[in-house]
Amino acid sequence: MIEGAAAAGDVVELELPARPEVVSVARLIIGALVAADPLFDEERSADLRLAVSEACTNAIQAEMAGNRKESLGPDAEPIVMRCVLADGQIEVAITDHGGGFDPTVLEAHPDVTSPDRLNYEGGLGIPLIKMLADHLEFRPTGDGTTVVMRFEPRTPGIRPVIGGVNGSGPAPGGG
């Protein structure tokens, strides 16, 4: 074990074949990277595995749609997963060559509790990533998209509240 390695900025970059079976491999990799960082507990590790699973699934499906095939041939372009561990944060970027994607189209889905929502099987992946990641960004590349997700550790017992006041600071000493 190399102490302080993460603080110096560890980078792990992998090319993965754009096939459904590799999504579980991507989850294993991010799980192993997070396990080496004591700032990230088991629950946060589960958040990262889920977010990476969603982003890799989207990347593979984008490549399938771009190639108009149900399964990709051996000459299909790989997806690239790049993880940077630095300053107590983990940044994961997933790049596909699926021809680009418009994240705003997802807003067209009805609310999840609406009866009409049952007509849509998909569309939950990106809202899930938004809930799990501290930062989410879609960067168009020449022939596809890079999804950049940043994760900070969670303080046990404190969950982020959408639109709420940041309560993660030290508690005032009585009063």
Binding site: S24, Q61, L118, L124, G125
Partner: protein, 124 residues
Amino acid sequence: MDLRLEVSERGEWSIVEVGGEVDVATAPRLREQLIALVNDQRYHLVVSLEAVDFIDSTGLGVLISGLKRVRTHGGRFSLVCTEPRILKVFEITGLLAVFNVCETIEAAIAPEDEDEALADEVAQ
């Protein structure tokens, strides 16, 4: 990681016990299983996620389509799940409000509104 599926029957109910990981690679098998049951006119389904280690939105999508499929036949669809890590995925997507989630298979296949039905009988 693989997906495990075990199907059993209890009266009008079919119980699908799922194990392992449900993602884009494995969810199609669960989808096919649910479609096969409905095609066999098994419209009351319980899907137990008690042995599931991981589920993502692809797996949730298959469950949503299963729910929709049995509802079009007037059937019932319940989940069994007590593992906090799996329940969290349903919670943050708002799907806890969509699915009937039970703690045990017995609770899932219990008659609906048993207390109310009993109260109605007593009232008459």
